[in-house]
């Protein structure tokens, strides 16, 4: 069993590709030998959930993720992604239609936003400044935490019997002190605010600032996207932050369209990886990780082929990795708790996706024309969202769902024929199973109808423009993309599953329970959102273990 590779990356999602590219570029500066890296992808092309595909002739769909902000600028630069074809175009408008009156629009232009909000409530327009400043302060604290391995405070206990992870190689104390220092610099009041913010519900947070119910429902949008929680569930305020901490060209909180769809992100990273010498194998599914003597030594493919390597790193989510790719007996020989951690890991699917080819640009009720150039959130007040959540809690899709819509072709000339449009519709809430029943084709079309009806209600005449519609339930997303239960973040972004507890207690530093086994997906710190940070952080830890330079 000669190891042909230094590392095998299971799964060619954007994080797996980032890890591969970072590994291959590791040691470049120090003049070390190039590490040999193999990425194994089940699908016929790489990208995972950052994927562009021509599903309907002439139209490129961003089939899963649909906008870009969180991809870390450090990665952009290190891998020189613009040279590899990635271009992110920020958009400047967010809106919410209203079929019974005036909709809500916010702009990147502060004055324009104020004028727009004042039409609903002078009080809210004024409170918006305070709210925005508070979010900026929260972002300031969290930003330095993204591109680092989360320090684990349990390592500081000299008496700890941490069998799961006996590799106390890194200096957790240093990391904790750094966070402590950052925390202290925030000032007393802000320290209290941070603790409050990380644990509270977005509903409670917004109630402290605003009065207009529809505005609050609109502002809460980012805090429920991708989570199986309602606006009054504790922990949702953090999810909002997770969507705001991104940037485009240093502009915090800005989101943009990747030219050519989100697949351009993966394509550019894959191109950078290939250039660095990474080998990518598609149409190859990893069936098992081979563990020998408590060490990961390679993988077995679906066709029985065995490939050996010095290390194995999984881009798959924690549940898939520990419950499907690794034998329970292998886990139990290290620590039986891990299997339980994996089983209990919260990775509930809560969102679906409709990708629609349109014959023209729809006009949304109560909104100015320019709102089609940004995100359009169909929703309402907290009651609307809670009601949508109630349907989900009791095993159904939301009959009147919350929808996060973008029409990237208003900006991007490459994704549809001139005058035609691609519309991405993110649907919240949609369960993985209907009660205990699996999705049937009938149920799926009933779900699709509810979504299209909701759009039609908020954009009269929309249905006449539909040329083609692709509908994906969480079940489809799991089976087609590989994300367990279709959870877009590879695991709920709640405090119990964050930082050193992501994915599991004791495994929060990208190293698995076995020697030479690592994790690099969104299921690790700092989580999902096409950030690339987990992939880069994982590679950094691996390079440290390889003693192969630092990136």
């Amino acid at each position: 069993m000669a190891s042909k590779y230094d590392a095998i990356v299971i799964g060619g999602g954007h994080n797996g590709l980032v890890t591969a590219a970072y590994l291959a570029k590791g040691g470049e500066k120090e003049g070390k030998n190039k590490l040999k890296v193999l990425v194994i992808e089940r699908y016929h092309k790489v990208g995972g959930a950052a994927m562009s595909e021509e599903i309907y002739p002439g139209f490129t769909y961003s089939t899963c993720s649909y906008v870009c902000s969180l991809l870390r600028p450090e990665i952009f630069r290190f891998l020189d992604l613009p040279r590899h074809g990635l271009q992110v175009i920020p958009y400047e408008i967010n809106s919410s239609p209203n079929h019974e009156g005036e909709g809500i629009v916010t702009y990147s232009d502060h004055d324009r936003t104020r004028e727009s909000l004042r039409r609903h409530s002078i009080k809210d327009a004024e409170a918006y400044d305070h709210y925005a400043a508070e979010i900026s302060r929260q972002c300031r604290f969290i930003k330095p935490l993204l591109m680092v391995t989360p320090p684990d405070p349990t390592r500081l206990n000299p008496f700890a019997q941490n069998k799961i992870n006996p590799w106390g190689k890194r200096n957790d104390l240093e990391g904790l002190l750094k966070i402590g220092r950052e925390f202290g610099r925030m000032g007393e009041k802000q320290m209290y605010e941070i603790i409050r913010f990380w644990t509270m519900s977005i509903g409670d947070f917004l109630d402290e600032y605003f009065e207009t119910p529809r505005w609050k429902g609109f502002a809460a949008a980012s805090s429920i996207i991708g989570t199986a929680l309602g606006p009054y569930s504790p922990g949702t305020a953090y999810v909002l932050l997770h969507h705001y901490m991104g940037e485009v060209d240093g502009q915090i909180g800005a989101w943009g369209f990747a030219r050519g769809g989100m697949g351009s992100v993966s394509k550019a990273i894959a191109s950078a990886a290939t250039e660095a010498g990474v080998e990518i194998r598609t149409n190859a599914e990893v069936a098992k990780v081979i563990i020998r003597g408590g060490k990961a030594v390679g993988v077995t493919l679906g066709n029985g082929e065995e490939i050996y390597a010095r290390t194995v790193v999984s881009n798959a989510d924690p549940k898939r990795t520990y419950l499907k790719l690794i034998e329970k007996s292998d886990l139990d020989s290290i620590d039986p708790d891990i299997h339980a951690y994996a089983k209990n890991f919260k990775i509930r699917g809560s969102s679906g996706k409709l990708n629609i080819a349109l014959d023209g640009l729809p006009q949304f009720a109560g909104l100015p024309k320019e709102s089609a150039w940004g995100t359009i959130d169909i929703g309402g007040d907290f009651d609307y969202i809670e009601r949508a959540y109630d349907d989900y809690k009791y095993g159904s899709w939301s009959k009147r769902p919350f929808l996060d819509i973008v029409i990237p072709t208003t900006v991007d000339p490459t994704m549809a024929p001139p005058g035609k449009h691609f519309m991405s519709v993110f649907v919240q809430y949609v369960p993985y199973k209907l009660g205990e029943q699996p999705w049937t084709p009938e149920m799926k079309s009933a779900f699709e109808k509810d979504v299209l009806d909701t759009i039609e209600m908020n954009a009269p005449g929309f249905k006449d423009l539909i040329l083609h519609c692709q509908t994906r339930t969480p079940w489809d997303i799991e089976n087609e993309v590989g994300l367990t239960e279709g959870n877009i973040f590879q695991g709920e972004l709640t405090l119990d599953q964050m930082l050193f507890n992501r994915p599991f207690p004791g495994l929060g530093q990208y190293r698995g329970p076995f020697d030479n086994f690592y994790m690099c997906g969104s299921g690790t710190h700092p989580g999902g959102g096409v950030m690339g940070a987990p992939g880069a952080n994982a590679a950094r830890e691996m390079l440290r273990d390889f003693k192969h330079g630092v990136v």
């Binding site: 920020p90 104020r114 002078i122 009080k123 400044d129 400043a133 610099r185 320019e370 208003t410 900006v411």
Partner: protein, 396 residues
Amino acid sequence: MTHVQHLKPFLKKTPFHDAMEAMMHGAGWIRWQGYYSPAYYDSTQSEYMATRNGATVYDVSPLIKYAIKGKDAAKFANYLVTRDLSKVAPMNVAYTAWCDDDGRMIEEGTLFRLGENDFILNAALHQLHWLNESAYGFSVEIEEISEQLAGLSLQGPNSRAILEVLGVQGIGKLPHFGIMETIVDGHWLRIDRAGFTGDLGYEIWVKPPDALWLWETLFRLGDPYKIAPMGGHALEMTRVEAGFILVDVDYIGSHHAIRPTQRVSPIEAGIGWAVSLKKDAYFVGKRALQKEKAEGSSRFILSGIEVEGRKPAPGAFLYADEKGTKELGLTTSAMWSPLLKKNIAFAQIPMAYTKPGTEMWIEIWYPKEKKIERSMVKCWTRNRMFFDPPRKKEIV
């Protein structure tokens, strides 16, 4: 982005807009809180000189104005701001700061006391959120009345003469920071003797429908008195000469500061005189400011400095020595004063250096034909009110 052609214009026009536009010779519009505001009409220099020589008018309508009324208005206002309002009689203006609980300045501005329990707060930034929050427990009504009044600032040595020919009775007796209300040709006017130029000057408030009448009348009657319009750029020069600080230029408002250390106290911002620690009533931030005063823990004081040479020194570091080994602070606003023939600036400097005449060094980087040159020159602490003519407060 490709959506611009679909956007509707949204900047608001003040009631004086048409009159100002008729005099606009360059692309001189800038934004002021969502309104069109003139940066300059033709040349900043001519507008600046006109202010110091005859009189100019500047449209102050975009100022954000809050009416504070009700049974507890006096009590509330005195709780909100740092000045002692028991010493401010009705029909007077008080320049004051208002702070957060930590004694860090949210903003500063003028507070008009129109009656015992009748106030107008003028602010550069929106403050309703804070006012409502602070008003808890007081029987007051707070209303934004920005668009209910249109205002022109008439400033300069001839400003009083112009108001006299306009027919404003008793304008000569109106004291500095006094307010009067009068009727001229059937039009209601409220006039306060204040401004942002440090010279003799007045602010004239009218009902918006009377705005163009006021503008036209002032220019017709004021012509022999060398009246001219002024834009924001010239105003910026005059306010530095006058020693007036500006939010987000000379200090960051504490409510939108991202870094808590960037917030400043009014003492640090160089308006410690507007903090009345002796007033009986508690005011927001009093405890923290008392402590700062008692401990002498102000990190710096925003002071005036005069700089050697002619190179303006914006964003320049000050040092105790020529070698630049001991850094003292940083300038905020800076300019060459054509009137005073002095190179002036505001700088954050340690308390030990605030005595007028104290010598320091300043490092100035300036462009010279595509080259950036550095000069390390002397500078001296000065009274920040560089320009303060007797006529500013004179009663005739």
